[in-house]
């Protein structure tokens, strides 16, 4: 995987281990019957690279590790192994974020703003402390970004509790843009908004992309939202990428059985408004990231699973000009 991309994630692994308290380790040495530390395999060896100005959709169900991967890319969470770079520059150096070129937008508008800080201060705090603007310029800078996200300049003096969910999400976006980033990681930015507000925010993202030529990693569980904003889409399942490719190709002719099953189980209204009546659910339960199944993690629920799937982990390999899938028997032939 040549690292030519603007955002480049190279074999990122992230595991959460809970160290048992002192006594359990003591007992382990004495009688060896204490519980071993539980390890959560959140992200396993994921490689992704986004070209400049591209929007990559990252889709998956809960526990698939998409949020963790997003946080590693945004330099909030250190990776257990592998490294993340933006424009060739490492995102994190020994546990501390070292770049301002990538910013993050969070899901819950009610939790991502400091309730005791005026909107103007929240937006100006970053650029001022990084010397991008002087204190004197902060007022005009705040106005610029408020307008960019469709908010009135008078919002600067107000507090978060005076705004609706949609307006707060605009403020969160303004805060991220104020750092003049080249890339944005958006973690379920519209998931907790109503449909009509969701449309306004999606349109805002589309226009920002065009005007500021931003590279975006767009994380969501909602397939239709991802399809609308992304150039390319990566499907994640239990910490790994199972399929990656141009959006239309993924949505019309998926190669991995999980992608196919996911598309079939998501209720969608057809273009002319007719409801899609027949949904085929996937069998079985979501496996827990604490005990990932051997071989291909999807084999217990896959209609095409064979012996090889149960034992051998399929590598992510090319299945076409610009798309890849991690499956021994990809749909529509190898």
């Amino acid at each position: 995987m040549s690292s030519t991309g603007f955002i480049d994630l190279d074999r990122i692994t992230r595991r959460f281990t809970s160290i048992p308290p002192f006594t359990q380790r003591l007992l382990k040495r004495l009688g060896g019957f204490a519980a071993s530390p539980t390890v959560v395999y959140a992200v396993e060896g994921v490689s992704l690279s986004l070209a400049h100005g591209e929007t990559l959709g990252l889709v998956g169900e809960s526990g698939c590790g998409k949020s963790t991967l997003g946080r590693v890319a945004a330099g909030i969470l250190p990776a257990t192994a592998g490294n993340a770079t933006v424009a060739g520059e490492a995102v994190m150096v020994d546990g501390r974020k070292t770049t301002t070129r990538i910013q993050m937008v969070f899901q819950d508008p009610y939790a991502s703003l400091n309730p005791r800080m005026r909107i103007g201060e929240t937006i100006a705090e970053g650029p001022v402390s990084h010397g991008m603007i002087t204190k004197a310029q902060s007022a005009s800078d705040v106005n610029r970004w408020l307008n960019a996200v469709g908010l009135d300049a008078s919002a600067a003096q107000r507090f978060p509790h005076q705004f609706s969910g949609g307006q707060r999400q605009r403020v969160a976006i303004a805060r991220a843009l104020a750092m003049r980033p080249d890339a944005l990681v958006c973690d379920e930015p519209v998931a907790s908004l109503d449909v009509s507000i969701q449309a306004q925010i999606i349109n805002l993202f589309l226009s920002l992309r065009r005007e500021l030529n931003l590279t975006m990693l767009f994380i969501s569980h909602d397939l239709s939202v991802v399809r609308h904003v992304s150039d390319r889409v990566a499907i994640m399942y239990l910490g790994r990428i199972v399929e990656l490719g141009p959006t239309e190709r993924i949505f019309t002719a998926p190669r991995h059985p999980y992608t196919r099953a996911l598309l079939d189980s998501a209720p969608r209204l057809a273009a002319d408004g007719a409801p899609m009546q027949d949904i085929q659910p996937i069998r079985g339960e979501l496996p827990s990231p604490i005990h990932p199944p051997p071989g291909c993690a999807f084999h217990q629920r896959c209609a095409y699973a064979q012996e090889r799937c149960r034992t051998e982990l399929p590598a992510l390999r090319a299945t076409g000009k610009s798309d890849q899938a991690a499956c021994h028997f990809p749909l529509g032939g190898p």
Binding site: T23, Q24, L27, A35, T38, H291
Partner: protein
């Protein structure tokens, strides 16, 4: 679960060492250890003999070693005032304190929780408002002042109950108990009530806060939607859920009630451990102070351990993580 208990026992031992060190420093190393052991008006020869016997001429840490040895063997020395082994003195006084403490805490819990739950269940009703008024008062008024008022009304004005003292007792297994005789009960009533008021107020406030929060959850709405009666919801869902925080407070408050007995026993001249410690502080009877501190600390640590174990027993979420 087992590992948890071992962890706590380990900590208990460490804490006892720390306390014994603090007590040793506070009482022996700071003051003149000799005054601790023998009364000031003793002849010089006996003083020298004692110094050598207890090794006060040794370096400090050796003395601490001796101090620990004696603690382990239960020899806390002799009380100046009562001139008898301190351990025996304290153990003889303990039942009296335990009686009123247990009565107070039981009363506070059995009355406090239902009242608190009602106040949480129907916060707007006038009855709840009075319950909360009583609880704020009970929570704010110092124990000793309530004691005075109780004596003033029941003993002085109405003359219905004795103003103090323990009344007659029956001895079972060599231990004097007063709650088994009517006269004993009459004497016990006011001190127990005095001790219970603060605890009841606390239980009411906690039960109310817990109930109020649980009543607003989807769980109660779902239980109602399945046709369960308000009584079932309160007694089996709500009580079971708020029991967890209440147990912790019950444990801590039991310890603090025992300590508050100091005040009540002084007012009602109830011959318990509390009164003993107050008298020994004023007469600087240090061996009693040392023994009281060590025993009470041991008691609090055991209460703490029991509370933690019950806490885990009550809340299945804390038990070993079983993934189905």
């Amino acid at each position: 679960m087992f590992a948890f208990v071992v962890q706590r026992l380990l900590q208990a031992v460490i804490v006892m060492f720390v306390i014994s060190a603090m007590v040793f420093v506070g009482v022996y190393a700071v003051g003149n250890p000799i005054d601790v052991m023998i009364a000031p008006d003793v002849t010089q020869e006996i003083r020298q003999a004692t110094i050598r016997a207890y090794g006060f001429d040794q370096p400090l840490w050796v003395q601490y070693g001796i101090f620990l040895q004696r603690l382990a063997s239960g020899d806390f020395g002799r009380s100046f005032v009562y001139n008898m082994p301190v351990l025996g003195l304290i153990l003889s006084r303990l039942p009296a304190t335990l009686e009123i403490t247990v009565a107070a805490v039981m009363g506070a819990t059995l009355l406090g929780i239902p009242l608190g739950m009602y106040a949480g269940y129907a916060p707007e009703s006038r009855v709840s408002k009075t319950i909360m008024a009583v609880s704020v008062l009970g929570f704010s008024v110092p124990t000793f002042w309530i004691g005075l008022v109780l004596i003033f009304t029941f003993a002085v004005n109405l003359g219905v109950l004795p103003a103090g003292g323990r009344g007659n007792t029956i001895s079972i297994l060599g231990v004097q108990w007063s709650f088994l005789t009517t006269n004993g009960l009459m004497h016990m009533l006011l001190p127990a009530v005095n001790l219970a008021l603060f605890k009841m107020a606390l239980m009411i406030r906690l039960a109310r806060a817990g109930t109020r929060e649980v009543m607003l959850t989807d769980m109660v709405r779902f239980a109602r939607a399945t046709g369960q009666s308000e009584w079932t919801i309160l007694s089996r869902h709500v009580l079971r859920l708020i029991a967890i925080p209440l147990v912790t407070v019950f444990g801590l408050e039991f310890g603090s009630t025992l300590a508050f007995a100091v005040v009540t026993e002084t007012i009602f001249s109830w011959p318990g451990v509390g009164k003993l410690i107050i008298d020994s502080i004023s007469t600087l009877d240090r061996p009693v102070m040392v023994a009281y501190l060590m025993l009470v600390s041991l008691l609090f640590i055991t209460i703490n351990l029991v509370v933690d174990i019950v806490y885990i027993a009550l809340d299945p979420r804390l038990r070993a993580r079983k993934t189905t």
